[in-house]
């Protein structure tokens, strides 16, 4: 079984650009999560979907960050416009459901110049 895949693995953007990160969850998983990881803040939740419905939306990230689940096997995270403080690793995870293990992708390292 394939794990969670994320593309691209690395992204470099100029300030003000729009970038789209992609995630394919484990087949059959109902829950999908987007996190931002930095050394200082650790893992911060950006969005949480259950059966394609948005369940939680990280309050601090609402204005420029938008995650979507176009179907049960594909999700995108759009950052528009990017700012240098958005430089971080963006992780996607999926899970069979509540209280279950989360399976993480390898992450996308975003650098905003």
């Amino acid at each position: 079984d394939a794990g969670v895949t994320q593309t691209p693995r690395h992204e470099v953007a100029e300030k003000g650009q729009t970038i789209i990160l992609k995630c394919e969850p484990v087949s059959g998983h109902n829950d999908l999560f987007w996190y931002r990881q930095t050394k200082i803040q650790g893992l911060e939740l950006l969005s949480y979907f259950r059966s394609k419905s948005l369940m939680e939306d990280g309050g601090a990230f609402k204005d420029r960050f938008k995650a979507e689940m176009l179907n049960s096997s594909f999700s995108t995270l759009k950052i528009q416009p990017t700012e240098p403080k958005d430089s971080a690793v963006y992780l996607c995870a999926s899970s069979p459901g509540a209280y279950a293990e989360q399976f993480f992708g390898p992450g996308t390292r975003l650098t905003v110049l």
């Binding site: 996190y35 650790g42 369940m55 939680e56 509540a98 209280y99 989360q102 399976f103 993480f104 992450g107």
Partner: protein
């Protein structure tokens, strides 16, 4: 914040030593997850301990959960160099996404 007193940020030990890291949490949780993250990779689950369990073992790993004090610990026995990683605990509040602690960096040297 979900977490009370934070984990130790970093631990450095020698191979063969035992190490324990702790997490505390503020709200009820059904399970405590412990994840390990290697450099350049996403976190991976190593132990999941439920609220009706006091202790869970997996190889050289041992997790404990004390619901009365709302705390959990992860111990590694006879650490090896390949145990070098960042370890996270996370709580699972019903219907919500996992809430992760800040992580403990464990460095094991030969």
């Amino acid at each position: 914040s979900q977490w009370g007193e934070e984990n130790l940020q970093a631990l450095s030990i020698q191979e063969g030593e035992d190490v324990t890291m702790n997490c505390s949490y503020k709200t009820y949780t059904t399970v405590v997850h412990w994840y390990r993250q290697d450099s350049g990779r996403g976190p991976a689950l190593i132990i999941l301990i439920r609220s009706n369990e006091r202790e869970k073992r997996s190889g050289r790993l041992r997790a404990t959960l004390d619901t009365s004090s709302q705390s959990s610990s992860l111990s590694i026995t006879a650490a090896q160099c390949e145990d070098t990683a960042v370890y996270f605990c996370a709580t699972d509040e019903k219907g919500r996404a996992l809430i992760f602690g800040t992580g403990t960096t464990v460095s094991v040297s030969p």
